[in-house]
Structures are given as structure tokens and as C-alpha cells.
Symmetry: C2
Subunit: 193 residues, 2 copies
């Protein structure tokens, strides 16, 4: 078998998520995943460190995109403008072909407390990256942290909305609308419910 | 030795933190902690499930206080008023005698990545509790989540400030000031830096 497999990563990811849904995350082995994808175990390990990493696919790319978008936002950009630029930059990762994976992912994570913990840690890492990037633009520490939490909330809310079978708008549209909704809330927290 | 030891919990907590700072968290055993406190291992296990739990001491009490304060805030209270009530209700936990423990705690956690992960999970749990309590008052889902993140940021920032040897103001004063500072930031996120 050739060492290089076209689209091996995506095939493995699809096979893994399908199996996680069918058999449960814990009961699925790397062997199962490779077999379902029609690839070898060593091909799997060239793409992922372990089965858990399949669910973190794209996290590093996302972090780079966010960091870059915030660093290169125009000098006149406000903190929210920077968040919008970051979230918008992630759009190309969320192609229509990935809708199904997002839904499967949600089901798998919802059923496994260890995976839920990993999600929380990933969220925290994302927030830290956004806060750092904002601080480097001169946003003060407290505002940077608060904005970062709002950015992560907008991202995760939008991701859930986008993964929803009833919602077929592009991710970019969804995420910018979601951010604007949080922005309104931020201004209203001191208002009467 | 009597089964019941006065202030056993606090003595164990102080012994544990002192040892974690001196020898490192990983190198300290439950035996070491009990010995330093002048208590038995079985007394330790009547108070804590394991040494990690020593560092989560008070988390459940904090959660109950937050939940209660938000539930019983006056009907006219805004989301930020509810956060203020929650944070203020935690004041009695942070007595002057605990200053030193807060500082030791920070040192220990800063040196151990596993403990940092636990801290992030505790923060997430606290945010979830606040968001739930606000939702039960009729705050909409997005506002509840955003307010909860702001509350947790205010709490953790205030805890760090209070633990700082240079700051001897009461926790309640510090946390309400910190919350007000975040509240100002929330309104300004859309303004030019």
C-alpha cells in the first residue's frame, strides 16, 4: 500500500466519527477506524496521535487563523471588530460537507464526560489565544479577557447553530450574526431583565 | 486518638499547602500531610477524598452561595446586580487568615499543568451554575452565558488581587470593584481602543 493516501485525514475523520456514534467513543479502537476508512493503522498514526485527536482536528488551524486575523485587523478596529475578523477567518473551515461531522461530533461529546472536559480545555485555550492577541494590540487586560470570552461564546454558539440540520446558512453569516447578538447583550447586562 | 479533631479540616489544608509549596504537589503524599498536621491518615480521608480535593476546598460551598444569592436577589435586580449579589455572598469565605493559603495555592497551581486543567474545569462549572441561576430568573440564554463568564472573570481576578500580599482590602470590596470594572469594559467593547 502506498505511504501517501489522498484525503487520508478526512477519510479517517469520517470513519472515526461514524464509529464513535455507532459503537460509542470508548468502544472504538484505532484499528476499527483504520479498517472502516480502508487504510492502515500506520496511516492513522501519521495523521493523528490517538483517537482523541481526531476530535481536536482543526483546533491548531483555528488558533492560527484567529491569531492572524486579530493581529492584522486595521489599526482602527475595536475589540469587537477584531473578534468579527477572527470568527470570519474561520469560515473556510466549515464547508457544507462538514455539516454532518459537526452533528456527529456533538452527539459523541454529549455522551462522554472526558470528552466534555477536553472541550472545555480547548475553549479555554482559544480564549487565552484571543485575549493575548487583543492585548498585543493594546486592549487592556480586563477588556481583552472579557472580549475573548465573548468571542469563544459566539464561536461555540455559532458552531452549534451551524451543525443544526435546520440551519443551512454559511458559517460566516451565522457567526457574525451570533457575535452581534452577544454584543447587544454585553451592552444590556446592566439593564432590567 | 479521638475520632473527632477540632479544626482538622483547616489544619490539614494548611499542612497540605505548605508541603505542596515546599516539596511540590506531586511529591507530597497524604501521609506527609497527615503527619505535618499531627493527625492520622484516616482523619484526612474523613475530610477529603484525595490530596487534589484539598485544592477544591470550598468549591461546593461557593456554588451553593452563588446559586442562592442569584435566586434570592430582588425581582428588580439586573443581571449585573445578580452577579454582585453572588460575588458578595462569597465574602465570608475569604477571611484574613486565608490570605496566605490563597498565595500558596496560586504558586502550587502555577507549577502544575494538571492542576491548571482542574482550575479551568472548576471555572467552567462555576460559569454553568451562574448561567443556570440567571436563566431561572428569566435572563435569556445568551445574556445568561455572557454574564456568567463576566462573573467568573470578576471572581478569579478579585481572588488573585485579594491573594496579593500588597492588597489587604476585604474580599467583598475587591470583588465588587472588579465587577464594576468589567461592567465598564462590557459597555466599551465596541469602542475604539
Amino acid at each position: 500500500m502506498a505511504r501517501w493516501q489522498p484525503r487520508a485525514r478526512e477519510r479517517l475523520e469520517r470513519a472515526a466519527l461514524a464509529l464513535f456514534v455507532e459503537r460509542g467513543y470508548d468502544a472504538t479502537t484505532v484499528n476499527d477506524i483504520a479498517e472502516r476508512a480502508g487504510l492502515t493503522k500506520s496511516t492513522f498514526f501519521r495523521q493523528f496521535a490517538d483517537k482523541r485527536e481526531v476530535l481536536s482536528s482543526g483546533q491548531d488551524i483555528l488558533i492560527d487563523l484567529f491569531r492572524n486575523a486579530i493581529a492584522h485587523a486595521p489599526p482602527s478596529a475595536t475589540a469587537v471588530d477584531c473578534l468579527a475578523a477572527a470568527l470570519e477567518s474561520a469560515g473556510p473551515l466549515f464547508t457544507p460537507e462538514r455539516h454532518e461531522l459537526a452533528l456527529q461530533r456533538r452527539v459523541v461529546v454529549a455522551l462522554n464526560s472526558e470528552l466534555q472536559e477536553r472541550e472545555l480545555l480547548k475553549r479555554a485555550r482559544l480564549a487565552a489565544v484571543i485575549a493575548d492577541a487583543l492585548r498585543e494590540r493594546g486592549v487592556d487586560d480586563m477588556a481583552a479577557h472579557l472580549a475573548a470570552e465573548m468571542g469563544v461564546l459566539a464561536f461555540s454558539t455559532a458552531f452549534a447553530r451551524w451543525g443544526n440540520p435546520g440551519n443551512r446558512a454559511p458559517f460566516t453569516t451565522i457567526v457574525l450574526t451570533t457575535l452581534a447578538e452577544f454584543q447587544t447583550r454585553a451592552k444590556m447586562l446592566s439593564d432590567k431583565v
